[in-house]
Subunit: 244 residues, 2 copies
C-alpha cells in the first residue's frame, strides 16, 4: 500500500530541483533496479514493487524499505509509459574528485536528449571510460529518462556538471579531442590512453568557444548522404577507434 | 481547414495495415518534410501545414495538394508529442530488385525499437549503405516513429522485409557478418566492399538459426562493465570499421 504523500514525493522527483534537494534518483524495471541493488556503491531508499517482484527478489532489500504495491498503484507512480514491476528510489552516488591523468574522459556539450545522454553513459561504461563531464545545458543524468537509458551504467560512471570551457582551460595539460566535419579521418587517429573527448549536440555541433580550444579535430568520414550522425552513435564510433 | 474524414484517414496511418493498403507514410516537421519534397524519388500526396510553413515553403508543392491548418488542427493529426509546423503524407518509394554484388547490405534481425530501426537507416545512409533487409518481426520502417528517426534517410535507403534465414540461404555466394560476444576483434577485421552485416536485437542477440549461418563473427571489445551496447550504436561502430 502506498500513501498519498509518497505518491506526491515520487512525482516531485520528475524535477531536478527536488532530486538535487533530496539527493536521490528513480530507477524502474527489474533489470536496472536489481543491478543497482547489487551495486555496493548505491544505497536504496525505498523500493515499490508488485507481488511478482516481491516474491522473487525480496531478499535483495530490508523489509522496512520495501513497499508492496498493486499494479494500479505502480502505474500511478511510474515514469514509464508501461510500468514494469518495480520502482526504486536510490541515493545518488557520491564520487571522489575526478582525476584526468592516464584516463579517457568524455565531455558532453549541450546533449539535451535524455535518451542520447543515457546511451552515452552506457557506451562510456562499455569502453571502460569512468568519467563523464557534462555542460550545464546538457540533460540531467539523474532524470528518470536518462537513468533508464543508462541501463544500470549510471552507478559505474562518474558524472559531473560544469562549464566546459572553464574546465578545459583549467586542464591545459590534458589533450582534447572533438569530432567535426573537416578533421583528421578517425581511422588514422592513434588510440589514446589519456584525453578529453568532446561530444557535441548533433544539430548544432560543438560550441564555437569550445571548438577554439580543441587540439585534435577528428572526423567520421561520410560516404553517403545523411546530414548527421546521432550523438550517441558518434560517441560509440569515436571510442571504438581511439579508446586504446 | 481539415475535414473529419481527413483526420480519420491520417490517424488510420498509425497502423501498418492501412499504410500498406494505401502505399503511403507520414513524415513531420519542416526538416524532414522539406527534404522529402526535394527528393525526386518521393511523391507527396498531401501536405498539412500551418501558415508559417505555407508562407515560406508553398512553392515546394502544388496548390491542390497543400492544406493550410490551424495549430489546433495540426495538434489533432500529429503523431509527435509536440506538433511541428507541417505533416506530410507521401507515397512509399518503389525500389527495384536488390543487388547484393559489390555492395554492403545491412540485415536487421528483430530490431523492434522504432528509434533504433530509424537510427540504423540513418547510419546506413551516412556510410553509403544503400539497402537494408529487415526480418519480419522488426519494426515497420514506414511507421511514423521510425520515419522521424531516419531524419530523411528513409528516401535514400532501400528497405524490404523477408525471412532472413531464407534470404541468406538464397545468397550463399555473399559473405555474412554478425556481431557476437566471442568473435574476432573488429579492429582486426579488414574493410569489405561486399557482404551482408547482420545487426541483432540488443537483449536477445541474433537468432540461433541465423547465427549458425554466419561466416564472420566479430566483436566490439568491451573494456568496462556495461552489459550490452545499443543496437544502433553497434551498427555504427561496425560500419565505421569495416565499410571500406
Amino acid at each position: 500500500m502506498i500513501v498519498k504523500s509518497q505518491v506526491k514525493y515520487i512525482q516531485s522527483l520528475a524535477h531536478k530541483k527536488y532530486r538535487d534537494e533530496e539527493g536521490v534518483f528513480v530507477a524502474e524495471g527489474p533489470k536496472i533496479v536489481n543491478e543497482l541493488l547489487n551495486n555496493p556503491a548505491i544505497s536504496p531508499v525505498n523500493i515499490f514493487a508488485i507481488s511478482g517482484w516481491v516474491e522473487k527478489d525480496r531478499s535483495r532489500i530490508s523489509e522496512k524499505q520495501l513497499i508492496e504495491v498493486s499494479h494500479a498503484e505502480l502505474d500511478r507512480i511510474s515514469f514509464l509509459t508501461t510500468a514494469n514491476q518495480v520502482l526504486g528510489i536510490f541515493k545518488k552516488p557520491v564520487f571522489g574528485k575526478m582525476n584526468l591523468k592516464n584516463k579517457i574522459t568524455l565531455a558532453l556539450d549541450n546533449i539535451q536528449d535524455p535518451g542520447n545522454a543515457g546511451t552515452i553513459v552506457r557506451i562510456a561504461d562499455w569502453f571502460g571510460v569512468e568519467q563523464v563531464i557534462c555542460s550545464e545545458d546538457s540533460a540531467d543524468i539523474f532524470s528518470p529518462k536518462v537513468v533508464q537509458a543508462t541501463m544500470g551504467s549510471i552507478a559505474r560512471v562518474q558524472t559531473s556538471y560544469t562549464s566546459l570551457p572553464e574546465f578545459i582551460s583549467k586542464h591545459r595539460e590534458i589533450a582534447t579531442y572533438a569530432t567535426v566535419l573537416d578533421g583528421a579521418d578517425i581511422k588514422m587517429v592513434k588510440p589514446i590512453k589519456e584525453g578529453i573527448i568532446i561530444i557535441g549536440n548533433e544539430s548544432k555541433g560543438i560550441s564555437r568557444e569550445l571548438l577554439g580550444m580543441v587540439q585534435h579535430k577528428i572526423t567520421i568520414s561520410r560516404k553517403g548522404n545523411a546530414e548527421s550522425l546521432n550523438a550517441a552513435v558518434a560517441a560509440g564510433i569515436v571510442l571504438s577507434h581511439i579508446a586504446g
